[in-house]
Symmetry: C2
Subunit: 313 residues, 2 copies
């Protein structure tokens, strides 16, 4: 059997046909054009799925189920409760998709789905518990406990970006202050770099962006840090400190087999991983006990399709 | 069948015989005298168990298993890794106890055990996921997910008192700074009250302790707050803010069916619960979704015996 996986992003709808082992056998993509009415988006998802099935030479009989990863949350009836980027509220996504396929339709949050992909077919395969962190514009998470996804009793869990790590800290888009997302994300790196550059107009970051702080991104900061620029190193070290605290909070709370760093910022690879590993021991409550493995995600952008598909497994 | 439950505290060893339904049918107690060699403590636990069995008219055939709740953590082989109050390191507690009873011996952390007791026979019975918080000298926790205890892949989880909620905050006994335990515990209430009383020698707290700040405890502060004393109210509100943030962090992370407040501070009952419930909405990430139920623990001190006993269930 094969599984259809839909990665519903703010920019693109990416659909793939996925084998039992988590291999993508064919793919199709189309722009999301998020402002359209939702039935049009679902129609395009279904059309992409049909196209990918055709390319792989598959018929409905070969398909087990359809999984959809969304940048939001859905309830147990497959109704999307929130989907901020798309402006969705109470969208009956499962029912709509079942007009095109009479198959089970499973829906989950995109970070949860990416963590599930790594668990089924990526770096955390073989573990029984894991927490996947997406370090992107925000900070998302996917939790697996005892070989099962855990997203909360009401679907409101695994929002690790909105754990408060600094009482009365930096204001967050969610309305609270001091959320982890404000310190552990690409957005946070950019904010901290802009602050640091204000006092250092000749630093490597400012040279890289030609003095235009609007052009600063996480990669520019990390590249400058790798070259040893003092200002960039200071920003990088500050980010590592906050991320290490967030990771330590995961350990003190759940202590999973593995913690995985994914999302755009994780492309820094060992440069980031080694820095966190070096900082972590001073935060651990039980430093002499075995620790969760700390790894970089292995599936990259494919995690969205693979994880969504394997929701049906 | 019946279950033996041992609540190993720093002051007393309390042992009970517990029915399948979580009812204590007989009890025996003896001082811990913690500085003694561990074989003497285990001998006393076994003697208490025999005494309680005799009182209940039970023989070895009636006993299913022995559970022990410890103020520390044990590994999968029943070896106590840490037990700070008792100064234990690498104590083979299971093997030692099996010299007295040829029954399964199960060991877990006292907060985990208390959460399990509430799940099996107390306020969270009938739920499938819960986080129990003990608000005492420190802040401990017991986590149940999908009807099972979760204490981490390496036994280092559910240390909610050591999640950082204030980067570079108040120094903690664990060596870190800003741990939740420093803001959400009886110890924290006392510290905050002493600070507040330094500027308010005539407040109700100071009157209650005759001006001796060493005599301040959480109950005195809460009682003064209930009477409307401004200084006590200020301390109470500060504590409620921190506790609400810690509870919101539990929701954003795990979103369980129920969050239970236990430990000495929870004896404040509805006075505390109502204040937290009033403060919580402004912190919620999904304020319109159903929320975990928030309740006061129901089993009191018996939770230690009942939960330890029912580890074998």
């Amino acid at each position: 059997m094969y599984y259809i996986g839909v990665d519903l992003g703010g920019t693109n709808i990416a659909v793939g046909i996925v084998s039992e082992e988590g291999r993508i056998v064919s793919k199709a993509e189309t722009p999301t054009l998020a402002s359209r009415p939702y039935p049009e988006l679902v129609r395009d998802m279904a059309a992409c799925a049909r196209k990918a099935m055709e390319e792989a030479g598959l018929t409905d009989e070969d398909i087990h189920s359809i999984g959809i990863g969304i940048p939001g949350i859905a309830d147990k009836n497959g109704v999307v409760i929130f989907c901020t980027n798309l402006g969705w509220r109470s969208v009956p996504l499962r029912a709509e998709m079942q007009q095109y396929f009479s198959k089970p339709v499973l829906i989950d949050n995109d970070a949860t789905v990416a963590g599930w992909a790594e668990f089924q077919a990526g770096v955390s395969r073989g573990t029984h518990s894991s927490v996947f962190l997406t370090l992107g514009t925000g900070l998302g998470a996917g939790i697996v406990i005892n070989d099962k996804i855990w997203a909360g009793a009401h679907g409101a869990g695994s929002e690790l970006g909105h754990l408060v790590i600094e009482v009365d800290g930096v204001p967050c888009t969610c309305g609270k202050r001091g959320c982890a997302e404000r310190y552990c994300s690409a957005t946070a790196i950019i904010r901290m770099a802009r602050e640091a550059c204000a006092d250092a107009p000749n630093c490597a970051i400012m040279r890289a962006v030609g003095g235009d702080t609007e052009k600063i991104n996480a990669k520019i900061v990390f590249d400058a840090a790798k070259e040893g620029d003092a200002v960039a190193m200071q920003v990088f070290n500050r980010f590592v400190k906050y991320l290490t605290i967030a990771i330590n909070n995961v350990i003190s709370f759940l202590d999973p087999d593995m913690i995985i760093l994914g999302g755009g910022v994780s492309r820094a690879g060992d440069f980031l991983l080694d820095a966190v590993k070096a900082a972590l021991p001073e935060y651990l409550f039980y430093p002499t006990l075995p620790q969760p493995q700390l790894r970089i995600a292995s599936l990259g952008n494919d995690a969205g399709i693979v994880g969504a598909a394997l929701l049906g497994k």
